[in-house]
Structure formats: structure tokens, C-alpha cells
Symmetry: C2
């Protein structure tokens, strides 16, 4: 291939275009990539093959077979491992060949028919409760062989009870974990399980999920994950996965990929020896002079900053690849390991920051605007019925300051319709053509309220004690602080749609990581730069915020009284 | 360094000489290497450092500190991980700095003070037993949200109970496993624990060990171990460990090491990502034309067989490096993986065999000879008191055939004293100078009974359903068969002392591995070559074996009636 041909080849699109995803889906760390993405292996490991699907086996016969193999893998006593292997291998291949509906049935069978043996548990409990705990348990040493015998028997009973109260599928999971390819299969099975639970609430499946998740956490211990520096010298099969999985800033072509792995960039993946050929999670880093304010600066920094001149390591993308590991925070350990490694190898790098999406911002803002608009309309139509309509807990809020309201109305002529700044803003942001970013006037009018509301969203909005924004919550519980919100930082269609083009810099202050994490986890305290603090502490007097939001009392939202 | 200097360097002894070990200790797979061996890291990982030991901290103050760190690591609730890290790190360093006596005290505290919270368990059990299991548990689907709620609550209670019945140290172990260096520390801790249990039987420590062993099995899943081909290109620090740990055929010098890693040889280690820089177990393989009959042929095969001409992969050494992993059979998986790999890479290799030591043979034989000699003497002195002396279960056995007896007596003139072949044989074999191998006459006289008795030892002698010889048991449960006993196969001092120079070839027949393993594990059946079978099936009429040994009834040993 000549030079021009190679250039064309490198610039060719590496993955089919796909419709943008709704916010809160597959766009932030430790959330499963959306099922609609054309991932090559979202639910299937090609290395495990799927020859059964290729064969002409009737589906129902096959489901029965897979059930039989599952049963056989569990029915042989614990010390007789040998003959189980064939059954495990068959199960593994068979499961991957099953259609989703059959997988669902199989998982239901697993959860119900291989649950705790409650008759046995009750018998053992009665037996245990009738035993007097041996004295030697409390007063230290046993005094002779007889007492030793009693003690040993007591410990044995407890051990039996501990084994009995495990569901029967525990043994199956243990055996799969020990068998090559089995851990990956368990991750696939959990992904299927979560997909079912997203649609149906079945308590036995919840119990199965909670048990399996606990097991996966212990088997995928961060200490046993290998940190792999992913480079252009890695295999095409690995790089293909990076392209397929990268969900934060999709990789356009080979040139884009090559740049992300080249000078001034780093890409690290966490590999587990039992899950071959793909990282469980990977992070992309740019080495820069300053903390970047827009993703375009990061992705198109050409020529890149010479590495010896960089003083900032900017984490601009972190992607977890396995839907079946949802809720298992490997990213935290990955970031720590990467910071450690960069500090050691490049002592001139002193700032560790992110340029992160704010995936939930627009969804939150639009619903806020819509509810306020509704209250406004209701008030106009029939103010007195408000309290009867269940709006008791939805207060009329000061979304826009009076001067913001005015500027929006003034600058919107010709772009959007609406009777108030609130309505105009709602209509502008909700429209899919993003006309507003083409008008300097509108940009100028929308900038102050969007920055201010975004600060409020990031610093104040919570859900069950966590930060409402999942990416914010992720970095805050890892010990980062919120440094800066950047205007027009991601002008891609996705960036505009999920956060009105805003992005945020979280900063990991090396001396405070543990402290900040502890304060956030234990007390819900968020550290933010003074500039951002000012946004939310703003007290504009009787016409403005009447009350500061108290993170301890989230039911009290800020109110504005007319 | 010139060529001659290099040659001298390579030939220099790589480890200090050490006294030969008693049989059954540190000489067979999955047994802890003897504590008396000068292992660099038998109980301590140098990478974890031991700065505390270097500091002048008073030992008792330090023990208190380590206890405090241990306590702090466990006392913080499960979801608040952050602040525990410092405590874990301190504990890790502190433990490694403790003297054995302090470690013992700490382990006792762990076992007793962080045991099961029995008050809580009893409360939860009472609560559980008073609950009626929801109907929906049995008849499949729940019918509505209310029933779903009841079911969920029931599963939650069961889960709480499952958590409560774990010892409190479970959480500590989990956290150590997730923390870098923690898994290695747990392995060290178990080694210490086993060393205590070898001297004292403390039920709470047995319970601790059984719990920890189960955890280590699940964390060191064979599927997550990496198979590493160890070569001369590996780091000196890794190779140093191979030299230090190799317990079957000690490595004499760098030349010896280089040969074992060079052409016609393979060395594979099982590495775990959380236990850095040393294999948990490693195996040495020689590629040969035929199954070797002596270890000297294997270790000094110079020039080595060209690899393309080899048809046999001979496993001549397998060494587990971690005393703390005793009883956890990783060797089985290692052998399987290595066979698979060699088959794939070298299809011309069709025979997979071992040349194995027989570590327990002499110990068994000498005690057999001694007891028979004693019975013989007792009979002469006072035959009638025999049954009163508790010898009821020790039968007079036919150890030697009449013709063997005669040959030994005839050939022993000038070498050993004794009134019978039995006594002479006992004295010859028990002497540490091994004079007997210098006499052709004695060799000729001893060869037939030694081969015959060794076959009986390997094929018939059992202990709790397992083969008495630990190496035999290891290979048989992995699915090997016993092929051949080799005369004068290991003439090293150690070889003579533990098995009168005999070695054995086990063969892995690829089509029968699973079948043989299953039959051995489930029914105790051992597969052996016809030649070996003949030794033990020998029925020499009224003056010989009166009864075949029945593996199902091991209390009936073969008897010979005068």
C-alpha cells in the first residue's frame, strides 16, 4: 500500500455510526455499556466459541441438555472433581449457544431449584441451638484431649451450618471459577441476570445476583488484576476491543486510535488472567501542560505536548467493558494504580485531573425546567388547586435569576418560542437540532445560568446519599475534588445532548485523596474549588435563594419566594 | 571475564550444602519445603520489606501495634473501605517484622477474639426459625408486590444469617486479599499457622486454618494462574528462587540451572498476579527419546536429544514453593496445562511420563523389617505371650521369599551381621554409609526383594483410602498409572536414603487420564503395568503369599503362615 493508501486506510471509520444514547446509559464508569451498541462481545466471548449455535440442535433439546450439564456439575460431591470437567465444559459451550429466552429460564431454574436447602438448614440450626457452647470457647485454652474433642466437634457443627446455609449454586459457581473460561461465563451470566432484573423484579433472582456479585468481587480482587499499558504494539484483537468498548469519546478511525496510544498519551487496562485478551476496564490519559478545558483540545492536541514538558496527567476517558461487573468499582483501584505509576515514571507530572462528562445534567435540568413550567402554568390556571394536586412537595423554585430570565427572552427572538425565559430555555435545550449554539447572543445568555445550575447539580443534588451524577459520585468517592466547569467543552452531538456541551475537571490532590474520600463517603461532604463553591453559596437576597441547600436534609430544596 | 573464568563462575555451587532431610518432608509435591532449608523467603517476602525489624522498636510494643492495626482493619464497616488501607499496610509490614512467638500470639488472638459472634448468630437463628418460609418460595412465582416484599425480606434474613455465621476474621481476610501484598501475607500467615498446628493441637486454630485454606483455594483458582515458561532470559531474582526452592533434585550450580532451562528441557511455573516474582509451583520437563530409567540420564543428558527427535516428555521434578499452600493441589492443574501445551506445540511427543522419587519407601520398609524382626525375636523368646502384648494386629508376614533370604545371607559375608536375611537386610539398609551398593553380590541379592517390596508399597499400601506414598497418591489422583520401577535410578545420598536408589515412572495415558483419576478417587483402583501387577499378584503357594491384598480391606494385610 502506498503512503496515500495507508492514510486513507487509517482514516476509515472503524465502527458503524450509532444513534446517540440517552443520558445515564453506558456513558460513565462502571455502568454497563448499552446493549444497543454494536459491541463484538457484549455477551459472548468469541474465544469460547459457539459451535452449538452453528449446529442444528433443536433449541428446546439444547436447553434441557444445558440444564442437565448444570445439574451434573453440582451433583458430584466436593472432593470428586475430576469427572465434573466435561460437564462444566459442555455447560459453558451450551450456555453461550442459548437464546436470551432460554438463558432466562435456565437462570430461573438455577435461582429456584438450586437455592438453599432449607430443611437441612433448619435441622442443623435446631441441633446447633440445643448445643451448649463449650466453656473452653470463652476461657481460652482447652484443658485436655477430651475438651479438645468437644471443641473440635463444635467448630465442625458451625462449619457444616456455614456450608448448609449457602445456596446450592455456590458450589457450581466455585467450580466454574476454577475452570478455564468459567469466570468469564459467570460475568456473562450476571449480565444476563441484570438485564432480566431491569425488566422484572424477581426476589429469587435478586438474591442470586447479590450472591454472585459478592463472589465476583472476591474473585476479581484488585490485587490480582494486572495493569497493562496498551500500545500500538498490542494485538489487533485487543485494540479492536478498545475501539468497540470506548464509550466516553468514541474512536473514529485507526488514526484516532493510534494518536490515543502514541506520544503524549497513555492507555492502561486492568487485565485478569482468567478473562483472556480484553481489559475489564481501561483508562485513557493525556499528558499536557495544563488541565484541559475542552475535549477537542485533548483529542486533537497536534503535535502533542513533548512529554518532558507536561505537568498534568489528564484522565479523559474511563470505560468498563463488562456489563456483568456493574456495581463493582474497579475504576477506583485503576486510577490509584495509574497515578502511582505515572508519579514514579514521570516525577515532573504533579497535577492529576480529569476532563469528565456530566452524563445526567441535561436529564436533570430538563425535568427541573418541565416541572417548574408545569407549576407555573398550574398557578396561572388555578392557583388554589395546587395543594390538592399533590404538588405539596414540589416547591416553586428560583431556576433563573431575574437578569438571566431577561437576557434569555431578549436574545431568543427568531430562535424559540415561549412566554418566559424558563419556557424558552426548556424549548431551546430540548430541541434536537441544537440551534442555540449557533447564536452568539443565545450562547451569551445561556452561559451564566447553565454554569450556575450545573454547579448546583454537581455539588448539591443527591440520591440515596450519593451524588446524583454517576461520574461525579465515582470520582468523589475515589477522593477527587470538583475543580472547574468548562463551557463548550464537548460540542459533539452527544456532549450537547447530555450536558449542553459542559464538561468538568475533577482533580486528585495527592495529599488529600484519602481524606476527601473518607469525608465524602462518611459525611457526604464534597470538596470543590472556591469559584464553584461561590456559585452554590450565592445568596441574592429576598428575590434570590432563600436558603442554602443542606446536604443532610435533601428533602428541603432551595426555595424562592415571590 | 574470560571463558575459563565464566566456566568456573557457572560451576560454582549456587547454594550451601545442607543435611539430607528425613523422608516425607519437603520432597514431594504439595508438601511444605522443610523449614530447615535455607530458603530465602520461606516465611518472608523481601519485596514487602521488614523495616520494622531494622528499627529499634521494642518487640512487645510492636506486637501491640500489630494487634491494633489488625483490629482497626476489621472494625470499620464494609462499605467504608478507604481509611482501612493504612491499617492494612501497617499490619502487613508489622506482621512480617514479628518474631515467631509474637506471630503465634497474634494468630491465637485472631482465632479467639475474632471468631464467630455467637450471641448474634443465636439471635438471628431464633428469628429465622420463627419465620414461616414464604409460600412463593416453593410454588414458583410470587403473585404481587406484597408477596415480593415478604420474599425479599426472607432472602435478606438468610443473607444476614450467612454473614453472621462467618467468623469476624473473614472480613479481615477479604480485605487483605484485595490489598496489594495481602494474599502473599495470608499465605505466610497460614505457613505460620501450620507450623504451630504441627506442634500443638488447638481446635480454634484448626478452625481458622480450615477457613483460611478454603479462602486460599477460591482466591488461587487455577484458572487465574498464569503458566510461565521459565527460561535463562528470566530475571536473576526469579531464577534464584528456582534454585532455592528446587527440592526434588537440588540445583548444583549455574551450569546445572542453565542446562535445565536449555535445549531439550522445559521449566514451567504457575504465577499468580498477586504474588509477585515467584512461581507458586514449578515443574521441570526433559524431552527425550524414551522414558528415562535413571535421574542421572535426565540431568546429564549431554548433548541433549534434539527436540525434533524426542517422543517423550518426562516430568522429573515438581516443587511447590509455598509452605502456606500445603494441601492445596495446584500440581494437578499444572501438569494438565503443561501436557496440553506440549501436545499443541510438539505433536511428535506422544508419551507423558514422570521419573519420580518414592519418598516414603525406605521409612515404610525399615519399620516393616523392624517390626517383623521384633516379632521373630519375641516368638523365639516367649511365643505364648505374643497375643497378650498387643501384637494381635501385627501378623507375622512373609517379607522375604525363602530363596531371597538365602541369597542375602550368602552374599553378606564381610558386610553386615545378622542371624537372618531379614536382619541383615535391615542392618544394611539402615546404615548410613550405604556400603551395600559397592558390592555386586549384595546388589544382586537385594534387587529382587527390593523391587518386589517397592511394587507392593506403591500398589497396595494405603492410608485413609489414599496411597501411602505421597508422590504416588499425587500422580494417581491426577490420573496417571504406575509403569515401571527403576533399579539404581537415583544413586545420590538422598535417593539411597529415601528409596534405596529406586525411582518410579508414572505415565499419563492421554485417553485415560479422567477415567483413571475417577477410578482411583472413587474406588481406590490403581492402574499399573502388567509387569508390576505380577509382582503383587504373585502367589507362591503354601510357603508364599496366602492371600491377595484387597484394597477395600486394608486391615487384612498379606500373611504368610509357617
Amino acid at each position: 500500500m502506498n503512503k496515500k493508501g495507508l492514510a486513507l486506510f487509517l482514516r476509515a471509520r472503524v465502527r458503524p455510526p450509532h444513534p446517540p444514547l440517552p443520558p445515564n446509559q453506558g456513558r460513565y464508569p462502571d455502568s454497563p455499556p448499552s446493549q444497543s451498541l454494536p459491541l463484538p462481545n457484549s455477551n459472548m466471548d468469541p474465544s469460547l466459541s459457539n459451535h452449538h449455535r452453528a449446529n442444528n440442535i433443536s433449541p428446546s433439546l439444547m436447553l434441557k441438555d444445558v440444564k442437565d450439564w448444570m445439574h451434573a456439575s453440582m451433583s458430584i460431591p466436593a472432593h470428586k472433581i475430576e469427572p465434573v470437567d466435561t460437564n462444566l465444559e459442555n455447560f459453558l459451550q451450551g450456555y453461550l449457544g442459548l437464546a436470551q429466552e432460554d438463558r432466562r429460564e435456565l437462570i430461573l431454574v438455577l435461582a429456584k431449584d438450586y437455592d438453599v436447602n432449607r430443611t437441612r438448614v433448619r435441622d442443623l440450626m435446631q441441633q446447633y441451638l440445643s448445643l451448649e457452647p463449650p466453656h473452653a470457647l470463652n476461657d481460652g485454652h482447652s484443658s485436655g484431649p477430651e475438651e479438645e474433642g468437644i471443641l473440635s466437634a463444635f467448630y465442625r457443627t458451625e462449619r457444616n451450618l456455614r456450608d448448609a446455609i449457602k445456596p446450592m449454586y455456590a458450589l457450581f459457581f466455585e467450580r466454574l471459577n476454577a475452570y478455564p473460561g468459567g469466570l468469564k461465563l459467570l460475568v456473562v451470566l450476571r449480565a444476563d441476570l441484570l438485564a432480566i432484573l431491569a425488566k422484572e423484579n424477581i426476589p429469587s433472582l435478586r438474591a442470586l445476583d447479590s450472591f454472585l456479585k459478592e463472589k465476583l468481587i472476591t474473585w476479581l480482587s484488585p490485587a490480582s488484576l494486572g495493569l497493562h499499558h496498551i500500545t500500538w504494539d498490542d494485538s489487533a484483537s485487543l485494540l479492536e476491543k478498545i475501539v468497540a468498548y470506548e464509550a466516553v469519546h468514541p474512536i473514529k478511525n485507526l488514526l484516532d486510535l493510534k494518536r490515543r496510544l502514541g506520544v503524549g498519551r497513555r492507555c492502561f487496562g486492568y487485565m485478569h488472567p482468567a478473562i483472556y485478551g480484553e481489559p475489564l476496564i481501561f483508562i485513557e490519559v493525556a499528558l499536557l501542560k495544563d488541565v484541559a478545558v475542552s475535549i477537542q483540545d485533548v483529542l486533537w492536541d497536534e503535535p502533542p505536548t513533548p512529554e518532558c514538558e507536561a505537568s498534568c496527567a489528564l484522565f479523559y476517558s474511563i470505560t468498563s467493558t463488562q456489563p456483568g461487573l456493574a456495581g463493582i468499582n474497579l475504576g477506583k483501584f485503576l486510577i490509584k494504580r495509574v497515578i502511582e505509576l505515572i508519579r514514579r515514571e514521570m516525577p515532573h507530572i504533579t497535577t492529576f485531573a480529569t476532563l469528565s462528562p456530566i452524563p445526567g445534567f441535561m436529564q436533570w435540568l430538563l425535568s427541573k425546567l418541565a416541572s417548574q413550567f408545569k407549576i407555573g402554568k398550574t398557578e396561572t390556571e388555578d392557583a388554589s388547586t395546587l395543594s390538592h394536586m399533590g404538588f405539596g412537595s414540589v416547591f416553586r423554585e428560583n431556576i433563573l435569576l431575574p437578569e438571566e430570565e431577561k437576557m434569555i427572552v431578549d436574545s431568543s427572538v427568531g430562535y424559540a418560542v415561549g412566554n418566559s425565559g424558563l419556557e424558552i430555555m426548556k424549548n431551546l435545550l430540548a430541541s434536537t437540532n441544537n440551534e442555540w449554539i449557533k447564536s452568539d447572543c443565545l450562547l451569551k445568555a445561556l452561559k451564566p445560568p447553565l454554569l450556575r445550575l450545573c454547579a448546583r447539580y454537581l455539588l448539591k443534588e443527591r440520591k440515596r446519599g450519593k451524588a446524583l451524577d454517576p461520574v461525579a459520585n465515582f470520582h468523589l468517592q475515589n477522593g477527587a475534588m470538583i475543580e472547574r466547569i468548562n463551557w463548550m467543552a464537548d460540542q459533539s452531538e452527544k456532549g450537547l445532548q447530555q450536558s449542553a456541551g459542559l464538561m468538568v475537571n475533577y482533580v486528585y490532590r495527592l495529599d488529600h485523596i484519602e481524606e476527601y474520600a473518607e469525608l465524602f463517603i462518611n459525611e457526604g461532604r464534597i470538596h470543590a474549588s472556591p469559584a464553584l463553591q461561590q456559585y452554590v453559596n450565592n445568596k441574592p437576597g429576598p428575590q434570590g435563594w432563600s436558603e442554602e441547600i443542606d446536604p443532610e436534609n435533601q428533602h428541603k430544596t432551595s426555595k424562592y419566594y415571590h
